[in-house]
């Protein structure tokens, strides 16, 4: 974990594959540390990339490796069988074995592992809260429980990489919210590289450390999430209303009376609904550009609880009546989506000093998540 910057083993994915309707040409490197999100619309080719990594799909050419370990290399003819890759695969539809109990499902891969397991069954069962489910059959479980068992089964197979293929897509919002902390726990406790596939930008923002954005079979962008999420160019790929700012902050105060927590970052304090974590915990906050308003002076009589002073650093015109304005607050860019009409009315321009306003209410649990100890990983390494 203390490896010097730049020499972490990498997930190396380079592959080409032609389909009748899609031509896949994907190249990305990601650190083995943390969660790499593979994001893109349906049909962007995410699933094919995951299949190729797992060994279900043979690329026409390329190389797939985790650190030194090559799964596939068309140049040297390496192509490991699925079972030799030891990729923990968490499927959207969980794929628990219906004839086995939860306990037997969990240990299916563990039994087939020759070596000293790094993750013991008892540890995984405790981590995922599966203790009371062990004797049950999969069909008696709820969707969320099923996915927890699937995650436990995958990590107990002692994988070198965890592939999560839209693990939350089949769940309703409350179940999603229930499962997210478990995935964060996996990232925190196991130090296992995770490739997380999703078409839901909220999930990606909440979980990912590294982002690979796919579009029509190609990698549109890839790099550390914090850098990419605020990149205006990524907007069209994730949808105008999902674009925004992601920043790291530390819990600096809990106010019991107002039930709010304060999060400090370089540009000041942000107040959010109370977070159940200790002061000093690093958090990740996502502020959607559409939730941010701009004012020329600090409005005295307004309910909005987050007001930060900054300077406009960039302005980009978007499709339709929209302007994408980036305001530098203590050196951190916060994006706001305003109408062109507002821009003209206020006379917004680069260098102008403005107040950035956003409601604490807009920062719900979906927008605030735990983050690993801060690691600025450059995409250039």
């Amino acid at each position: 974990m203390d490896t010097a910057h730049g020499v972490w083993p990498m997930i190396d994915v380079r592959l080409k594959k032609s389909f009748p309707s899609l031509s896949l040409d994907v190249t990305f490197q990601a650190p083995v540390d943390g969660i790499t999100a593979l994001f893109g619309r349906n049909g962007a080719g995410k699933s094919s990339v995951v299949s190729a990594i797992a060994g279900a799909l043979k690329p026409d050419a390329g190389r797939i490796a985790i650190g030194e370990r090559e799964f596939f290399n068309s140049a040297s003819g390496v192509n490991l069988a699925v079972e030799q890759r030891r990729v923990g695969y968490v499927f959207q539809d969980s794929r628990l074995f219906p004839h086995l109990s939860v306990g037997a499902n969990l240990t299916y891969g563990l039994k087939r592992y020759r070596g000293v397991p790094k993750i013991e069954a008892t540890a995984a069962i405790e981590l995922l809260g599966l203790d009371h489910l062990l004797a049950r059959r999969p069909h008696t479980l709820s969707g969320g429980e099923r996915q927890r068992v699937a995650i436990g089964r995958a990590i107990l197979a002692q994988p070198s990489l965890l592939l999560m293929d839209e693990p939350l897509a089949a769940l309703d919002p409350p179940r999603k919210a229930e499962l997210l902390p478990y995935i964060e726990l996996i990232r925190e406790k196991l130090g296992l590289p995770v490739i997380y596939i999703s078409h839901d930008f909220n999930e990606v923002m909440r979980l990912a450390d590294h982002l690979v954005v796919m579009d029509r079979g190609l990698v549109a962008r890839h790099g550390p999430l914090i850098e990419l999420a605020s990149d205006p160019e990524i907007g069209p790929l994730i949808g105008r209303f999902e674009a925004g700012t992601v920043l790291n902050a530390v819990i600096s105060d809990h106010d019991a009376a107002s039930e709010l927590s304060a999060l400090s970052f370089a540009g000041g304090d942000i107040r959010v609904p109370r977070i159940k974590a200790a002061i000093g915990t690093r958090m990740r906050i996502r502020i959607r550009a559409r939730d941010v308003a701009l004012a020329l002076s600090e409005p005295p009589d307004i309910s909005v609880s987050n007001r930060l002073r900054g300077e406009i650093s960039a302005m980009t015109h978007r499709e339709g009546p929209f302007m994408d304005v980036t305001v530098s607050v203590g050196g951190v860019g916060i994006r706001a989506l305003v109408t062109t009409e507002s821009m003209k009315r206020l006379g917004l321009q680069k260098g102008l000093s403005v107040w950035v306003l956003f409601k604490a209410v807009a920062l719900d649990s979906r927008s605030v998540g735990f983050t690993r100890r801060d690691r600025a990983i450059s995409s250039e390494q």
């Binding site: 079972e83 890759r85 004839h99």
Partner: protein, 259 residues
């Protein structure tokens, strides 16, 4: 063989139990003669061995037809299903050509292993196995088709080899169908007539199973009572097999899926 040998002697039945002497239809006793009992037990033996021997090949063929990417699947499918559509006598004749004393396989079996199929119980078993094979394959194949290949892939991603995944995941999940296939095969073997009489002939105690015994009885003057009794045994056995198949399938389904 050993299982059935003591049973085939009537000495086990010291006197006719009361219910057996009841007349079902006026004048017909339900008590089988030694010859009839012999036919009954032989039928059970032939059908059991034929079904057991067919089981593994049937599972393999079903797998090839459903999961493999081999060429010539249609040819294999047609070959397996031929006994369903061809006259049984034709199948018996083909068996004679292949497994007869002068046939390419039959002569090797006889010369090298000293096994003769014509006129023997083993021959009756082969004829029954071939005739009931398509039914068995069909039932097993249907059960394999509903097993999600995604589960096999999941098993392999967890470190199981292809064969391990088949044994630990696919086979248990298709067990109800395998069981149904086995019992279907068994029931069909009990009724096999045409191929058996053509290939293995009609030898009392060797190849004269229930259907052949019924046929023989009908050919004999005053054999109607015997025929009627054998027909009843035959029907009871067939219906029993179907009921057991149904119950067993539901039972395994509950075992496998817990519902």
């Amino acid at each position: 063989m050993l299982l059935f040998a003591p049973l085939s002697s009537l000495s086990l039945f010291p006197g006719p139990p009361q219910f057996l002497s009841l007349s079902l239809i006026a004048g017909i006793s339900l008590l089988p003669s030694p010859a009839e009992l012999e036919a009954l037990l032989l039928s059970l033996k032939v059908a059991l061995v034929a079904s057991f021997v067919s089981l593994l090949p049937a599972i393999c063929i079903a797998w090839l037809l459903v999961r493999s990417q081999i060429r010539g699947k249609i040819f294999l499918n047609v070959l397996v299903h031929a006994p369903l559509v061809l006259p049984a006598v034709v199948i018996g004749y083909f068996l004679l050509l292949g497994f007869g004393v002068h046939g390419p396989i039959g002569s090797v079996l006889e010369d090298v292993f000293g096994i003769r199929l014509v006129f023997t119980t083993a021959g009756a078993m082969l004829a029954s196995a071939v005739m009931s094979f398509p039914l068995m394959v069909r039932a097993i194949r249907l059960s394999l088709e509903v097993v999600d290949p995604g589960l096999e892939f999941a098993a392999r991603s967890l470190g199981a080899s292809r064969f391990d995944a088949f044994l630990s995941i696919t086979l248990p999940l298709m067990l109800p169908g395998v069981l149904a296939g086995f019992i279907m095969g068994f029931a069909a073997s009990l009724g096999e007539f045409g191929a058996t009489i053509t290939f293995a002939s009609n030898v009392a105690g060797e190849t004269r199973t229930l259907p052949l015994a019924i046929y023989t009885a009908l050919q004999t003057p005053d054999g109607e009572q015997i025929a009627m009794r054998l027909v009843m045994f035959s029907s009871i056995l067939a219906i029993l097999a179907l009921v057991i198949s149904e119950v067993a399938e539901q039972w395994t389904r509950r075992m496998v899926f817990g519902r």
